[in-house]
């Protein structure tokens, strides 16, 4: 019998960041070519704003009290449209199988997917913010920068947990129904502080009053990003 032989492997992995950026670039390129999720999310954002605007009883409720809630309802539900699409493109012809069989780590695939989803959600937010401002006739001011910042911070948490649940539900027949059902309860800890900060900023309260909410939001971001990254590889194991 010939001696035991273990073939030396000459493969050098490209690295976590490069792998993640490659996956994100691919997802964004597909979305740029098809624009299917973005157009759906953009239409949803503008139509929802219009509906809220025309059901709003002016004089009874101040726009500054109503707008933060409207904004976060739109952000939350329009984001889900993109999250569902994220794994839909992978399953159409089982492209995910090839990606999972490649040497890329599961964590880098998750990070890439989450980065692309973050870019998607930020684009929808960039459209929804001025739409809400215009429809509700909100004043211009420096506070919009603060709202943009807190939107980005909240988007990180929403996208992390949303990408995880999109992966979990992707192989199910009722993915479109299951994703919001599973993800929305986990969105609440992110949406509540984000809506509070938005309300305080719109009402001209000093930044110091928002700090505790921002800390809470950041804490949930860290927990959700860490937990989702750890849990993601198990969602795709068979």
């Amino acid at each position: 019998m010939s001696p035991p032989r273990v073939v030396e492997l000459s493969y050098t992995p490209p690295g976590f960041v490069r792998d993640a950026l490659r996956v994100a670039r691919k997802d964004l390129l597909i979305e740029f070519r098809t624009r299917s999720a973005f157009i759906a999310a953009a239409v949803f954002a503008v139509l929802s704003t219009a509906i809220f605007r025309f059901t709003w009883e002016q004089g009874r409720v101040s726009p500054l009290d109503l707008a933060p809630g409207v904004l976060w309802v739109i952000f939350t539900f329009s984001g889900i449209l993109g999250l569902h699409r994220s794994f839909g493109v992978e399953l159409a012809d089982r492209a995910l199988d090839a990606m999972m069989a490649s040497p890329m780590s599961r964590e880098s695939i998750f990070a890439g997917k989450a980065l692309a989803n973050l870019a998607f959600v930020c684009c929808v937010q960039a459209l929804a913010l001025p739409a809400v401002g215009l429809f509700f006739n909100l004043p211009a001011g420096q506070f919009w920068w603060g709202i943009a910042g807190v939107s980005l911070l909240a988007a990180i948490g929403l996208v992390a947990v949303g990408t995880l649940f999109a992966a979990i539900t992707s192989n199910t027949r009722l993915a479109e129904l299951l994703l919001p059902m599973l993800a929305l309860p986990f969105f609440i800890p992110v949406v509540i502080p984000a809506a509070q900060v938005t309300s305080l900023l719109m009402n001209g309260r000093p930044f110091a009053e928002t700090v505790d909410w921002i800390k809470l939001l950041a804490a949930f971001d860290i927990v959700f990003v860490a937990a989702s990254t750890v849990a993601f590889p198990f969602t795709l194991e068979e």
């Binding site: 273990v6 490659r22 492209a95 069989a101 490649s102």
Partner: protein
């Protein structure tokens, strides 16, 4: 990088599968399958629908964890480290392509996922090998099923895998595509790659096979080494029919 130095002796084998069993719920899809394949060997795996061929293939590729048993690829246990996955290429009747990307972009993405240094050139070479380089810039959704399958094969071979797992790879291929695939697989065999080919078409499987197995009810019920001069397709087809019809009765 050297992985899994405590791996059992593989006697120079490319693939060593021992006692593979996979259960889905209460049903055993694959039961007590053991096999050894040397570099340069091609195993053609035949069997009726539901025999467990695809499940076995997925376990050999490390995509599916066996309920019992182990798979070693060149001495490294699967599912293994990134470097071990780099040794495997997958071809299936699913193209595993992104419809919105061009043929070239799909193959470059696969090459980059496998850490190819010159991914662009490797992609063009793979597309040329499958005679589809003239459609490199066409989005995959605009290609015919046969051309998509050729791009998919280029995607699977772009990183020069040592083990290629093929599940009905001839599905949708026209004569030119089938010839290009056979030629590409012959080239891979000649450089020492190992192939496992699952197909319902005995002729195509036997043309490349160095051994042929028939799988039924999750087990390998018969394995034949290729005789000198190759398999006689008609005789083998008769044997296959008699085995599977016995099972049907």
């Amino acid at each position: 990088m050297l992985l899994d130095v405590d791996a059992p002796p593989d006697r120079g084998m490319a693939v060593v599968a021992s006692g593979l069993m996979r259960r889905f719920g209460g049903r055993k899809a694959v039961d007590s399958v053991s096999l050894e394949l040397a570099p340069g060997e091609c195993l053609a795996l035949f069997g009726p629908n539901g025999a467990g061929k695809t499940t076995l293939l997925r376990m050999l590729g490390g995509q599916l964890k066996p309920t019992e048993g182990t798979v070693h690829l060149h001495g490294h246990q699967l599912p293994g480290e990134a470097a071990t996955r780099h040794l495997i290429g997958l071809i299936s009747h699913h193209t595993m392509l992104y419809a919105a990307l061009t043929a070239y972009e799909n193959v470059v993405f696969a090459a980059e996922c496998h850490g190819r240094r010159n991914a662009q050139q490797s992609a063009m070479d793979a597309l040329a090998l499958l005679k589809v380089s003239d459609r490199a810039d066409t989005p995959v959704r605009l290609l015919s099923r046969g051309l998509q399958q050729r791009v998919s094969i280029a995607r699977a071979l772009v990183h020069s895998p040592r083990l290629v797992l093929l599940d009905e790879p001839y599905t949708g291929l026209d004569e030119t595509g089938a010839r290009a695939l056979t030629r590409a697989l012959e080239q891979l065999l000649s450089v020492g790659a190992t192939l496992v080919l699952v197909t319902h078409h005995l002729g195509e499987g036997l043309a490349l096979a160095t051994r042929a197995s028939i799988m039924m009810n999750g087990s390998l019920v018969r394995t034949d080494l290729t005789p000198a001069g190759g398999f006689n397709s008609a005789t083998y087809a008769q044997l296959y029919r008699s085995l599977t019809s016995q099972e049907g009765e």
